[in-house]
């Protein structure tokens, strides 16, 4: 039987959730026996090469490209999992949701102490080669249907591991108190 195929991506995340996946340490060697990876930052596959069984999403949706990538994941993955607070509810980046984007840009590029005398022409990043920032940061399930949610910032390595093993083997998942943390 062919191995289950896993894809992963980071949208508006900090890569902490991917790092937590790496924190399964030597179980990494078991993991690559258990599953194959398709499109993911841990390999060189940039575009989906086939339909995948499981898609792991880190990060919420903060710009036009994030939305585009998330929709592609929904299309190519049978099961989609929001990994971590950013994917589940926007996480820390969503603190900007009550603030107009213009104010955030002004603070970073015009008013900051290291730019206020260094940006006489009041330049803001704005170019065809960089993506559009959305008005707010959206949790993934507001953009596409999400099947499972793994809480934590980041979720414990053991939680990610238990969830992957359960999804791959079809066995019920163990959820001991110590591995499920909301932080």
């Amino acid at each position: 039987m062919a191995k289950p195929v896993v894809a992963t991506t980071s949208l508006a995340g900090c890569f902490g959730c991917h790092m937590s996946l790496l924190d399964i340490d030597d179980r990494i060697l078991q993991l690559i026996e258990l599953v194959e990876f398709d499109k993911s930052p841990i390999d060189d596959i940039k575009q989906f090469s086939r339909q995948c069984d499981i898609g792991l999403i880190e990060g919420g949706v903060c710009n036009s490209e994030n939305a585009h990538v998330l929709k592609a994941f929904r299309k190519h993955c049978n099961i989609l999992v929001s990994v971590g607070e950013c994917a589940i509810m926007g996480g820390l980046p969503a603190l900007r949701n009550n603030i107009p984007v213009g104010e955030c840009l002004a603070e970073a590029y015009l008013n900051s102490p290291t730019t206020k005398n260094a940006n006489p022409n009041k330049i803001l990043p704005n170019d065809d080669d960089i993506p559009m920032i959305l008005n707010r940061v959206y949790p993934c399930h507001e953009v596409v249907k999400i099947d499972y949610f793994l809480p934590g910032c980041p979720p414990r390595a053991d939680l990610i591991w238990n969830a992957l093993v359960a999804l791959v083997t079809g066995k019920e998942m163990e959820l001991p108190y110590e591995v499920v943390k909301f932080d």
Binding site: G13, P125, P154
Partner: protein, 486 residues
């Protein structure tokens, strides 16, 4: 026909950075740029939050080196709570933080070398990308892969023991630290975590030496690549101790030019605004820092392992010092401007971090209970430290309600913005300019030059594998004429 080449390390996928190269009708390069496509708005949305939240909030900028942000914010807040800078803390407070930081440097440098650079060394830069990644290493060179995994684990465990959690911990608080290191924890790190001698500090030091040997062997066989690829003169900036030693946690700011002349003379970090400013360019969300005394054209500088070994005079741990002397002798004592030597410098620092962890683990101060210092409340504070990727600046102002009113961050990778653009430009001019056909090897080349800087926010993905690259040739009307992917 004029072309625009787009190399997207991770953009479409992860949204961090991409490269565009424009060529005219004769295939001459007219422009090359590394764009950073991420914007979060931290500077604005932390305003109004209570200041003590900063160390736990701002570290969520980066899950690859969260400890660096955690500690830089805490150092700025030390100033605000009146604990002073650097050695203002209790010995336990400062040493616990240092242990956390060396754990972080160690795991981050290991991740970069084993998961990212080793595939290039083991399989060759031109190898099939299908095997040239961390999974390929695990399948073909299992011992080395296990070594990388265990070294990273060791660093992460040190972080957990000092910060409470491997990623996004809470250990550092304004004026100190919230826990010390128990005897049991200490003994486990010295003798081996879970009784496994492969997870002892002595093993970490040995494996760091072995990684250096692996790199030096590669260097001896590939001198051209390592010595000349994407090499260019630049200024270098980092913290050093007042007497010139490498110090990754605290110090004064020193800058040297490409020939070793001091251009930033050991300035107090609280005065950084007198020396550093940032240029904004419309095509990138990442700013371009420079030294104000030299201006934006000439004042840009490199940070990180290479820069640090160029600014410091010595390393205070014996094994790393030995390698440092060799590193310095290679360029006759002058600054080393060879981009690919970042890898060498990074491994010397890995060894230094392991030696520092050993010293700290044997220091009884870590078991003492005096954890926090307070003093006269200040309105502003600046915290700098040397993150794995280079100098990191945090600056906060706080009002009488303890709310943050201003936050300015210059992250390590931002400091390397112009240098990475220079590196991309070098590759474009030296390998792509004048060529009618753009090959995959040329794409690889761009990747190799950027990777030397271990950039974090721009293309964090490559920390775990090779950056996927996409290249698109577009004619002057914007129609796609060719597209390649690796």
């Amino acid at each position: 026909m004029a072309k625009k080449i787009v190399i997207e390390p991770v953009t479409r996928v992860e949204g961090h950075g991409k490269v565009t190269i424009r060529m005219d009708d004769d295939n001459r390069i007219t422009q090359s740029r590394l764009h950073i496509v991420e914007f979060r708005g931290f500077e604005r949305f932390v305003q109004g939050r209570p200041y003590w939240e900063a160390p736990v909030l701002v570290q969520r900028l980066c899950g690859i080196c969260p400890v660096s942000h955690h500690l830089a914010a805490a150092k700025a807040l030390d100033v605000i709570v009146g604990a002073g800078t650097g050695n203002g803390l209790t010995p336990t407070g400062e040493k616990m933080r240092r242990l956390m930081h060396y754990g972080q440097i160690f795991q981050s440098h290991v991740l970069h070398f084993f998961h990212l650079v080793s595939p290039d060394l083991l399989f060759g830069i031109d190898a099939d990308p299908a095997i040239r990644n961390v999974i390929g290493v695990a399948l073909k060179h299992k011992d080395l892969a296990v070594q990388g995994v265990l070294m990273r684990k060791y660093g992460q465990e040190i972080i957990e023991a000092t910060a409470g959690k491997k990623i996004h911990g809470t250990g550092a608080i304004p004026g100190g630290i919230n826990k010390n290191l128990s005897i049991e924890e200490r003994d486990a790190f010295i003798k081996g975590i879970d009784g496994n001698p492969q997870l002892s500090i002595a093993q970490m030091i040995d494996w760091s030496e072995a990684a250096l040997a692996l790199f030096k062997d590669y260097h001896a066989k590939h001198k051209d690549l390592i010595d000349s690829y994407a090499a260019f003169d630049s200024n270098h900036v980092s913290l050093v101790t007042p007497d010139g030693a490498l110090d990754l946690y605290h110090g004064v700011l020193r800058g040297v030019d490409a020939h070793g002349k001091k251009i930033l003379n050991d300035v107090d970090t609280q005065d950084y605004l007198d020396h550093v400013a940032e240029e904004v360019r419309s095509w990138s969300y990442m700013k371009f820092p420079y030294l104000t005394s030299l201006g934006p054209k000439k004042g840009w500088y490199r940070v990180g392992p290479l820069a640090r070994l160029n600014t410091c005079d010595y390393i205070a741990t014996p094994r790393a010092q030995k390698h440092f002397e060799e590193f310095r002798a290679y360029t006759g004592g002058k600054p080393n401007n060879m981009t690919m030597h970042y890898h060498w410098a990074r491994l010397i620092e890995t060894l230094h971090a392991a030696e520092m962890m050993e010293l700290l683990l044997n220091d009884p101060d870590l078991q003492k209970d005096d954890l926090v210092v307070t003093g006269t409340r200040q309105q502003q504070g600046v915290g700098l430290l040397e993150a794995p990727r280079g100098t990191l600046f945090h600056h906060y102002a706080v009002n009488e309600n303890d709310q943050i009113t201003m936050c300015n961050l210059i992250v390590s990778t931002t400091n390397n913005n112009q240098p990475m653009n220079e590196a991309v430009n070098w590759v474009a001019l030296n390998t792509i300019d004048g060529k009618a056909e753009v090959t995959e090897a040329m794409l690889n080349g761009v990747e190799v030059a950027i990777r030397a800087y271990d950039p974090c926010l721009s293309c964090a993905t490559h920390a775990m594998g090779n950056m996927p690259l996409e290249i698109t040739l577009v004619d002057s009307r914007g129609d796609v004429i060719d597209s390649k992917r690796k």
